[in-house]
Symmetry: none
Subunit: 238 residues, 2 copies
């Protein structure tokens, strides 16, 4: 069976989105998986067709990320088999930019969307949310913290008075991280890894800088420092 990680019931009790990632490329798979896990999704990673089908037989997924070029066969088979048994689990196809026919075949075989490699992880997240929302499942509608309303699926924050806050990519990443795991202490290193997906080690106080910038925009009181460990956001209604 494939690698399993993430999700569980840590996220304030919300059901996580179960994702099956079918991808043979180690690097890309790593990046996608770690990113998705950080977003609070539960990810199984299958590196070939056999594995993928074993997973599908065992678990009911909320979303499938499907690379079409696999070592032991074409990913289309998986998709077709799925649809043949009237399984409507949303599927997002991952293809290289020159595999146009793959894309078309994929959509026609019942895929819901596709992404062209190399893709931005932010865009992946947007598509995941779009598809998940379309199926009405697993959306986290809103997180309310203090006078902030945070919409993870829309990458949006508003204040109670309706004011929209403009956040940069990194700022949003930090805020999302903290708000999804609200009431829990989030380690500095965890945040750092969320910012610099995999590898790219950084050696300065970037996290502190972004927390600072966030506090300026959100209001000082929203992010609490836990000395020596990290940060946390507390929502009063628990």
């Amino acid at each position: 069976m494939a690698e399993r990680e993430g999700g569980s019931d840590e996220l304030g009790g919300d059901e996580p989105l179960r994702i099956l990632l079918v991808e043979d490329d180690q690097t890309l798979g790593d990046a996608v998986k770690t990113h998705a896990v950080r977003q609070g999704h539960a990810v199984d990673w299958a590196k070939d067709q056999d594995n993928a089908e074993a997973c599908l037989a065992a678990v009911q997924y909320g979303l499938i990320l499907l690379d079409l070029r696999l070592p032991d066969g074409h990913g289309l088979n998986i998709l077709k088999a799925l649809r043949a048994r009237r399984d409507k689990t949303p599927v997002i196809i991952l293809t290289a930019h020159d595999q146009v026919s793959d894309r078309i075949e994929g959509l026609n075989a019942g895929a819901d969307d596709y992404l062209v490699k190399p893709f931005d992880l932010g865009e992946l997240e947007a598509r995941i949310h779009a598809v998940a929302r379309r199926y009405g499942a697993h959306q986290v509608p809103m997180i309310e913290i203090g006078d902030l309303q945070i919409f993870p699926s829309e990458r949006r924050v508003t204040r109670s008075n309706g004011e929209q806050l403009a956040l940069s990519a990194r700022e949003w990443a930090v805020l999302e991280m903290l708000s999804v795991r609200r009431n829990a202490i989030v380690g500095k290193s965890q945040i750092e890894e969320a910012l610099y997906s995999f590898g790219a080690e950084i050696e300065s106080n970037t996290v502190e800088v972004y927390v600072s910038r966030l506090r300026r925009k959100l209001g000082r009181a929203t992010i609490e420092t836990v000395r020596g460990i990290g940060y946390r956001m507390v929502s009063d209604e628990r």
Copy 2:
């Protein structure tokens, strides 16, 4: 049964239009289906008469696109059978330019409209909207964003003061894409692919150019840039 794809309830909760495409030509079918799916319709594709009738028996469609020349019989049979059982589902016939008699027979048998191959996908979309509107079903009446009223089915935008905005084809394509998925972030690549139906990869900043022009016509604030990902339109009333 036929291939099924697309639609669901993605368009802000509006029911999608269920289309049955009856067409044996692979290429044409691909083009029509992918285009329609992109417009948010739900498409079943039957490649022969048997298949088509199986679909019709199982599902209540909002529209049927019917090629008359099929491998296992004449599409007219399908249409006649349909009307014989007083099914009023709108039907658009697809014929080659030299099949004049087909067209006449088709209309006499109760078709609502016809298209001559090869046809422009934009024209197809227009006819689909026209027929759908005529039947009062499935039209997205209006999308209101800021002081704009957008009528997707009529390819029309007005400002609150009644002023009518003139948009070019590409400008409209971008606006439609963004307004139909309002409040969601739409990737640049997604918009690009909506402009250049599949494949025709473009390597310049066309999308940016059209966004720029749109902003000039619509007002700066209407389209928001999400750096590194794409664009979005936000409608305040949610």
